[in-house]
Symmetry: C2
Subunit: 488 residues, 2 copies
C-alpha cells in the first residue's frame, strides 16, 4: 500500500509541495520541479530536503527516482549533499525579484534625534508584567476563546475597561456599551465608514492630518473650529452633525477645553441631536494640574469616548475602545461584523488581566514620573538656553509646543531637519480651510528618544531655535499663564 | 508645599478621578462628587477608596474634609468602613442602564450540536507551544517593536511566511511582496475599499455571503461564475477586471479547480490585464489526494494569494497575509497607512517564531490527522445510517457537503434546527444572481464540535436526513467519483 501524503508529511517533519506535471518521465518531471523550486527561490538556500523515502511516498514515485533526481541536481550544483546532514539547497540560488518599497517611517533616513510626537518611550514597555498577564490569560482562557468571537470584544476586557475608565477617567459606562477596536483610526472608520454617523463634522482647527484624510476618504466633510485660550470655539457649531474634540489635552496645542465649553458642547449636542466624539489619546498623563475627567461623564448618551493603549503601553498592540451611547451600540457592531474582530483576542485577554492585576495603574504611574522628568529637562534646557521661547501644553501629555515668532516656523523646521532632528511644525497640523490666525511653533515629542539619546536631542534642539528678537519674547496666541513655562 | 496629583497617585496605588465643581463648600462638593460617582456606578460596589491623606493631597483639600465626607457617606449608606480594610463602596449601588444587544453568534440559543463550517476545533489550540513562541518573541524583541510599526507587518513574520508558503504551498514570493493583515475580510477591504482593484469581480456561484456583502459595501459588483465538475467556469470570464477563486478546495462545494482551468484563468489574467485573487482558506488540510499547490505559483505577477491562521490555528489571533504582485505592494500599503497595522505586532512576532521553530508544521500535521479522523467518522456514520446520501468535498478541508434530492434542502435544514443542530444549507451560499441549476445539500463542519460531543452530533445529523428515495440515490451535479464517499 502506498503511504498517503498525510502519513508521509507526518514523518518528514515538514511539508514540501511539488508539481510533477512537466513533460517526460517521472524522474525528469521531479528534476524539473525541484530545479524550478530552487531557481525561483521557493526553496531557500540551506533548506533541507525530505529523505528519499518520504518524498517518494509523498509523490507516489519509486524511491530510486527521488535518489536519482537529487543526485542529478547535486551534480548540476542546485543541491548539496553532505554526510550526516542530508540533502540541502545550495547557497547559489537566485531569489524572486524583490518588490521596490517606499521606506516606512521607522526607517526614515538621516534622523539622528527623533522628537516626533505620537509615540511612547518604546524602551519602557513593561515586558515582564505583560508576559505574566498574557501567560495567565492563555492558561485560563476557556476553549471558546479560540472559536469565532464577539465583535464587541471579549467580555473580560470590557468589564475591566468599564471599571478602569470609570475610576481613572470619570467615564460613565457599563461593559455592554464598550466596543473593542484596533485604535482611534479604526474607531473613526467604524463610525463614519459604515454610515453610523455622518458629516459635516466639526474638528479642531489644529489636529491630526491623517484623521482628516481618513474622514475625507469616507466622504465626510470636516469643518474647522478655531482655537482660543479656552480651547475649541464650540460656540461656533451650527449645522454640523457631530464634533471631534480632544478635551483633556488639545492636540497638538496642549490646553484643556474650558469647563464652560465642555458644558456648551454637550448642550449643543442635546439641542441639535448632535454627537460629540471625545479623543482621549493621552488623558492618563498629566503632571501638575488637577486631572481633567472625560467629557463623556457629562452625558453618556451624547458622547462617544475613544481611547487606546497606543500612548499608555504601545501602538504595537493595536488595542483601543469606544464607549458608546446605548442607541449606537448595535449599529456599530453591525458595521464591525462578526468576522472582523480586528484586535487579537489573546491580547484582549492579556490586557484584561493587566488591568485587573493593577499592572496598568502601576505602569501608568511609573511612566507619568518618567515623562514628567523628561518634560522638566526640556523646560529647564529651554529656560537656560532659549529663554525667549515660550513653551505651552506641558502640563500633560507626551509633547510640548515651542511657540515661535510669526513667520519663523518654516526655517526652524528646515534647520532642524538639517541637523538630523525629526519633529513637526504646527503648520503640519493646520486644517487647510481654517481662517484662524496662523500659529508658528514646533511640536516636540519628548517621549520618543531612548534615555541615553535624550540629552543630545535637547542640545541639538536648542541649537536650531531662532535667536531672541529685540524686546519681549512673548508671542501671544494660545499661551496662557497656567500653561506657560513656569512649571515643574 | 501641596503634594502634586502625580505624587499622590503614585502613593495611592490607583487613580480616582473626581470633579469638585458643585455648589457649596469643598466638603459638600466632595460629598456630592463621591455620591454621584457611586450612584452612577462609576465607582463599583466593593471598590476601595483612597486613604484620607492621599485623596486630600490629590484634590488639594484638608484631610479632615475627606474624613468628614467619607463619614457622611457611610452614614448615608453609600460607603462602608471596616477596621483594617479601609473605606469601600457599599454593595447597593445602582449601575448605568445596560445597552440592549443582539446576541453574538457564539451565544446562539438552542444549539445542541454545532456543525457549522468555518472554524477549527477550538479545544486543540496549541497553548503551550504558542505561549513558548510568544515568550521568546517578547524577550527577544528589539525596543523599536513597541514604537510605530511598518504597515507591511514585521519583517520577521514576512520572512518566515515567505519560506513556509514557498515550501508548503508552492507560493513564489519574497518578504517584500507580503503584507500582513487581520484576515481575509481585511484583505478584501484593503484591495477594493481603497481603489487598488476595481470591479466587476468574477466570483464562484457558491461562496461566502459575507464576502459578497463586504464587496457590495465597497461598491464592487460581483458576477457569479457557474460551477461544474472541474470547478468554476473561468472560461466564461469576459470584461471582469478581477476574479476571486478558492482553487485548492472550492468553498463550499469542495472540489479542486481542474489543472486546465488553473492555466486558463492565468491566461485570461495575462490577456485581459486582470487579477486573480486566490483564497487559500484551508489549503493545508488535505487527506487522500495529492496536495494542490497555490495557483499563485503559475504567475506571481497576476495572482494575489491570501491566507490566514483562522483555520490552521484560530480566528482569535486575527492574523492573515497577502502575497502581492510587485506592482501592487505600494498601493496596498498606501491604503493600509502607517498607523493602521491592525494586527498585533507581538502576535506577529510570536507567529514568526512559531513558524521558524517548526511548531506550525507540527500543529498542522497533528490537526490533519485529527480532522481526517473526524472526516472518516462522518463518512462511516453516513455509510451505515444514510447510504443513499452522497458526500462530496471530503478529500480536504474542515467540512463536507451532503448532497440531497432536489427540493429537500429547506426541510432538512429546518429539521436540523428543530433538533438543535446548527448547520447551513447550500442555498445559504448561493449567489443571488446566478442562473446555475440550484444544488440541494447540507454543509457540515466536522471540526467545530469538541471531541466529547462529536458522536452525538453525528447521531443527531443522521436522524434528520431525508429518507432514501426509490431507486438510485445519486443526484448528479458536482459529485465526481474522486470526490465521492469512497474515501478513507
Amino acid at each position: 500500500m502506498t503511504e498517503s501524503w498525510a502519513d508521509a508529511a507526518e514523518r518528514i517533519g515538514a511539508d514540501l509541495h511539488l508539481e510533477l506535471s512537466g513533460p517526460g518521465g517521472r524522474r525528469a518531471a521531479l528534476i524539473g520541479a525541484l530545479r524550478e523550486a530552487v531557481r525561483s527561490g521557493r526553496l531557500a538556500p540551506g533548506t533541507r530536503l525530505p529523505p528519499y523515502r518520504s518524498l517518494a511516498a509523498d509523490l507516489g514515485v519509486a524511491r530510486n527516482t527521488v535518489a536519482d533526481a537529487y543526485a542529478e541536481l547535486v551534480a548540476e550544483g542546485w543541491l548539496t549533499a553532505r554526510q550526516g546532514s542530508g540533502t540541502r539547497v545550495a547557497e547559489r540560488a537566485e531569489a524572486v525579484r524583490p518588490a521596490v518599497r517606499v521606506a516606512p517611517r521607522t526607517r526614515a533616513r538621516g534622523v539622528r534625534h527623533d522628537l516626533r510626537q505620537g509615540t511612547p518611550d518604546a524602551s519602557r514597555f513593561p515586558r515582564t508584567a505583560w508576559q505574566a498577564s498574557y501567560r495567565r490569560a492563555l492558561q485560563q482562557a476557556p476553549n471558546e476563546v479560540f472559536g469565532p468571537g464577539d465583535p464587541a470584544g471579549r467580555i473580560e476586557l470590557r468589564e475591566a475597561l468599564a471599571e478602569y475608565l470609570a475610576r481613572a477617567r470619570g467615564v460613565r459606562t457599563e461593559p455592554g456599551r464598550i466596543v473593542v477596536c484596533s485604535g482611534f483610526a479604526h474607531a473613526l472608520r467604524l463610525l463614519f465608514g459604515g454610515g453610523v454617523l455622518r458629516g459635516p463634522l466639526g474638528v479642531e482647527a489644529y489636529g491630526l492630518g491623517f484623521h482628516r484624510e481618513l474622514l475625507a476618504g469616507a466622504g465626510v466633510r470636516t469643518v474647522p473650529l478655531p482655537l482660543d485660550e479656552h480651547g475649541a470655539r464650540v460656540d461656533l457649531l451650527g449645522r454640523e452633525r457631530a464634533v471631534l474634540l480632544t478635551p483633556a489635552h488639545q492636540f497638538p496645542t496642549g490646553g484643556p477645553l474650558h469647563a464652560a465649553r465642555r458644558s456648551a458642547v454637550v448642550d449643543w449636542a442635546r439641542t441639535r441631536g448632535g454627537v460629540v466624539l471625545e479623543d482621549d489619546y493621552d488623558g492618563e498623563f498629566r503632571y501638575d494640574r488637577k486631572p481633567v475627567g472625560a467629557l463623556q461623564g457629562l452625558d453618556p448618551e451624547r458622547v462617544v469616548y475613544i481611547g487606546s493603549v497606543s500612548k499608555s503601553l504601545s501602538p504595537a498592540l493595536r488595542l483601543g475602545w469606544m464607549v458608546l451611547p446605548g442607541h449606537l451600540v448595535d449599529q456599530v457592531l453591525g458595521v464591525k461584523g462578526e468576522r472582523e474582530g480586528w484586535a487579537s483576542v489573546l491580547d484582549q485577554l492579556a490586557l484584561a488581566d493587566f488591568l485587573a492585576a493593577g499592572s496598568y495603574d502601576r505602569h501608568v504611574r511609573r511612566m507619568r514620573q518618567h515623562y514628567r522628568g523628561r518634560r522638566d529637562r526640556l523646560t529647564a534646557a529651554l529656560a537656560a538656553q532659549a529663554p525667549h521661547i515660550e513653551v505651552t501644553g506641558v502640563a500633560a501629555g507626551l509633547h510640548a509646543v515651542l511657540r515661535l515668532p510669526p513667520g519663523t516656523e518654516p526655517s526652524a523646521v528646515k534647520g532642524a531637519a538639517w541637523q538630523g532632528i525629526a519633529l513637526d511644525g504646527l503648520a503640519e497640523f493646520r486644517h487647510p480651510e481654517t481662517d484662524m490666525e496662523p500659529m508658528d511653533g514646533l511640536v516636540v515629542g519628548y517621549a520618543t528618544p531612548p534615555e541615553h539619546a535624550y540629552a543630545a536631542a535637547l542640545e541639538a534642539l536648542c541649537g536650531v531655535l531662532p535667536a531672541a528678537p529685540d524686546g519681549d519674547g512673548h508671542h501671544g496666541g494660545l499661551g496662557t499663564g497656567r500653561e506657560g513655562r513656569r512649571v515643574g
